[in-house]
């Protein structure tokens, strides 16, 4: 259910940017979404499609660039994992801290002017 709030914010930003650039239509929206945000892409697209009806962003495609969780390991240096873990995926050490994976950003819009 939390995707609805995110979809609403995306639409608001897309429409204000479209207006600023005098666009007739928004055809595509690129997003960077962190794994830690627990956003379900299909649900987000479904909700966006619904709320964008009747606006210049109707039918716009959501392109989601995944921002993976980054795990920093004291023992072996920076590593990467697909979900939160307290164990380094490379050396199995436990001195890890999570340093990324929570972005929620609109990167760019494709508009038809």
């Amino acid at each position: 259910m939390h995707e609805l709030g995110v979809a609403t914010e995306i639409l608001g930003i897309a429409l204000s940017e479209a207006e600023r650039h005098a666009a007739k239509k928004v055809t595509s929206i690129r997003l960077r979404v962190g794994v830690l945000r627990a956003i379900e892409p299909e649900n987000l697209s479904f909700l966006f499609e619904h709320i964008a009806r009747g606006t210049p962003a109707e039918g716009a495609l959501l392109e989601i660039v995944e921002d993976p969780v980054r795990v920093e390991c004291e023992a072996c240096g920076v590593s990467e994992a697909s979900s939160l873990t307290w164990e380094c995926p490379r050396c199995k050490g436990t001195g890890v801290s999570v340093t990324g994976g929570d972005s929620l950003t609109i990167l760019s819009l494709d508009i038809d002017s």
Partner: protein, 225 residues
């Protein structure tokens, strides 16, 4: 111009920008009035309201506590808190699964905060959505009861990553459930190395004074200037 005739414009804007702007206004209001604010987040039934009641008992007679209750529906929690004789405001979020900063800002603007030194905001019972939105709080507190299972920091990483205090509640029930406290501590520390962890039982009283002392000390850091 792209091959399909469309133009790409760079935006690079946070999707949570409007919420962040409202949170900044709350932060300014709290800072101007020297009010220390806690945002309490947990699943339904983990002990947020009980912790608030314990804090009200701790500050009884010292005054200066105000409470904002967030629920999808009903005034049940506000009525429970009102019995303690403190100022309380209920926000019913209806279709939204967390308190939005704009709603909290409106509530705070309607409240008399002239004597308030500590603001307790009880978010909607939910480990997902409240974690995404800052309410301009000074500290975020996540509560996890031992009956919920020790895998929660892995399943709901964002709330554990963004919380300053982790309170493991209902520890008097540990003998009856499978809950590895060390596993939770390790996972929570991986998500946020600076997190302060407390283990409490409100019914048995264990660990409560350490938690209440810490919150009182945190409040003092903001009030004394």
């Amino acid at each position: 111009m792209r091959p399909d005739g469309n133009v790409r414009i760079d935006v690079e804007r946070s999707i949570l920008q409007s919420a962040d702007e409202a949170a900044a206004l709350i932060r300014a209001l709290l800072s101007e009035r020297k009010i220390y604010a806690l945002n309490l987040i947990s699943s339904p039934g983990s002990g947020k309201t009980t912790l608030i009641e314990a804090l009200l008992a701790r500050f009884e007679g010292k005054g200066g506590v105000a409470v904002v209750e967030g629920d999808i529906e009903t005034e049940i929690d506000a009525e429970r808190i009102r019995k303690h004789g403190v100022q309380v405001r209920q926000i019913n979020t209806r279709s939204t699964c967390h308190i939005q900063p704009s709603r909290l800002l409106s509530a705070l603007r309607e409240m008399d905060l002239s004597e308030t030194r500590l603001l307790l905001v009880e978010n909607v019972g939910n480990l997902v959505c409240p974690a995404e939105v800052s309410l301009g709080e000074d500290a975020r507190v996540v509560l996890l009861s031992v009956t919920e299972g020790d895998e929660k920091p892995l399943k709901y990483p964002l709330v554990f990553r963004t919380s300053d205090l982790l309170v493991i509640t209902k520890t008097d029930l540990l003998p009856y459930v499978t809950f590895d406290v060390d596993r939770v501590r390790r996972a929570a520390r991986a998500a946020n190395p600076a997190v302060e962890i407390f283990e409490v039982s409100a019914t048995a009283g264990a660990g409560m004074s350490a938690l209440l002392d810490r919150i009182e000390a945190l409040r003092a850091t903001k009030n004394e200037h």
